[in-house]
């Protein structure tokens, strides 16, 4: 018998277990999956919970519920991987052997990495994160009781998972305070280490316009050095200061420390892999999928889904000694909440910037791309159902792995590129 060991029972790990349980010969293979707890959190819901859209119970389910009966689930924290022995050690010392290993341990926000951020004087009192369940819940209560002042929405450093989530938070906060008839008591700033509102230039322009339309102040190129918990001020590396009353930050995101303990990661504990096949650059029987890898694509559930589809086919070739023929193109798509019951959709890959147009989803679509509409918002809400009922279990969902140019406005892209030349011509600065 050979063992496929999956580390992490989140979005990617669960999909891998489901897909490969169907494909692998059960007389020859066992599948084992390890996670430190039994609570699968629907992470996209953490963005909406602070605004009272979801109740906490709607966002948590038992991991076992999504893992096939024939797959062994071990609930334990993982200490380290020892690739030379083909073994993984659990906290407590138990060793598990593997023939093939999939690392899907994700990424987590690390407030401890910025001086002053997790100081008890401010942490979960005036400084909050919404990337964790506890943070999102605490923020819900803080927002409900807040009387107004300076709200700062902030990204510490890229890359983060779901890179649009903080922007969406700013849009939703604007809508939330407007609805509660207290928008004039609140100033909202959006503070980012990037040069603009988003990482991709075309998007950055469209989304930047949406910030100014909502009277949200954009503070680009701000690299946080520390937070002064006494005075409630953020201080940047080049000594700029931004005061706040309520800071909603996305702390530095890092892969799990288990990767550092195993000496297998880069400076942020991400596992270096081939960006088209997810095979480790160092070990021929180790893959990293989802947020845990270092591929230059968005860290998002949609990316993990497209990636796992390609991986599952490749894996069957890999274990029978053939070259892997599937190639991942970096495809990502995501619904962006823009507040007041509206949303927009963006779709892109390694090579192509997000383009406006219509995104052709058979059955449900088409969805307007990079443009606000109520349909996109409904798409985001429907996604929770799709996530729990289809996606995790590895069932078919009506979106292709490879990005398609159908419905996208190429002409717009060309025009934007023309503009880009003037705007960004760096050598002339």
């Amino acid at each position: 018998m050979r063992n496929l060991l999956v580390l992490g029972g989140g979005t990617a790990g669960t999909m891998v277990a489901n897909k490969l349980y169907k494909k692998l010969d059960r007389k020859e293979w066992t599948i084992t999956i390890i996670d430190k707890d039994d609570e699968h959190i629907y992470q996209p819901g953490l963005l909406l919970m602070p605004f009272g859209v979801y109740s906490p119970e709607e966002l948590i389910k038992s991991r076992r519920h999504f893992i096939p009966k024939g797959v062994e689930f071990i609930q334990s924290a993982i200490e380290k991987i020892v690739p030379e022995l083909n073994q993984v050690f659990l906290v407590g010392g138990r060793a598990i052997d593997y023939d093939q290993l999939v690392i899907a341990t994700g990424t987590t926000p690390r407030a401890d990495q910025t001086p002053g951020m997790s100081d008890p004087k401010v942490w979960k009192k005036s400084v909050f994160d919404f990337f964790t369940f506890e943070g999102s819940l605490a923020l819900r209560d803080a927002l409900a009781n807040w009387e107004g002042g300076r709200l700062v929405v902030h990204i510490t450093e890229m890359p983060i998972k779901c890179p649009v989530a903080p922007l969406e938070f700013a849009f939703l906060a604007d809508a939330y305070f407007t609805e509660r008839k207290m928008r004039e008591k609140v100033t909202i700033s959006y503070v980012t280490p990037l040069e603009g509102a988003f990482t991709k230039p075309t998007c950055s322009r469209a989304l930047g316009g949406m910030l100014s339309d909502r009277n949200i102040i954009l503070e680009p190129d701000f690299m946080l050095e520390h937070i002064d918990p006494e005075q409630k001020i953020m201080v940047s590396m080049d000594e700029r200061e931004i005061p706040f009353d309520l800071l909603v930050t996305v702390p530095l995101n890092m892969g799990d420390d288990l990767i550092a303990r195993s000496d297998m990661g880069d400076e942020l504990n991400y596992v270096p892999v081939d960006k088209t096949t997810f095979l480790s650059k160092k070990y021929s029987n180790i893959f990293a999928l989802g947020d845990a890898s270092d591929i230059p694509a968005s860290k998002a559930g949609s990316v993990a889904h497209f990636a796992v589809d390609i991986f599952a086919e490749n894996f069957m070739q890999h274990i029978s000694g053939q070259p892997m023929t599937g190639k991942f193109d970096g495809h990502a798509n995501c619904f962006i909440e823009s507040g007041a019951g509206k949303g927009l959709l963006i779709d892109f890959n390694y090579e192509t910037e997000p383009l406006p147009g219509m995104f052709p989803i058979p059955v449900v679509g088409p969805f307007p791309l990079l443009k606000e509409s109520r349909l996109n918002h409904l798409g985001k809400l429907a996604f929770r159902w799709i996530y729990w009922n289809l996606l995790l279990k590895g069932r078919w969902i009506p979106i292709s792995d490879q990005m398609s140019m159908a419905g996208k406005h190429r002409a717009f892209e060309e025009k934007q590129n023309g503009e880009k030349k003037e705007v960004d011509h760096y050598a002339h600065h």
Partner: protein
Amino acid sequence: MPTIEIAGKDIDVNEEGFLTKYDQWDEAIAKVLAEQIGVEMTDEHWKIVNFLRSDFKSAGETATSRRVQVVGGFPIKEQFVLFPKKPAKKMAYIAGLPKPKGCV
């Protein structure tokens, strides 16, 4: 892709002016690139630029500010002093490397 002349050589650059061929770079070119963006090269600047060059060779990608801190040992704060406002972009520009990814 445009070609421009720097320090007497024809150099390939992208539309933002970043060098596109690793081997076309030399120190004389770096000095000109630095001048264009208002940076005067000192020993400290060269140490960082040289780190970026050698790291790119082994890692295949331009180091981010964090990597320059963690792997190279140059604190981000110091990078901001030496290459004000946009250190990651400026360091890459002078080192003749692509803009660092990290932002997706």
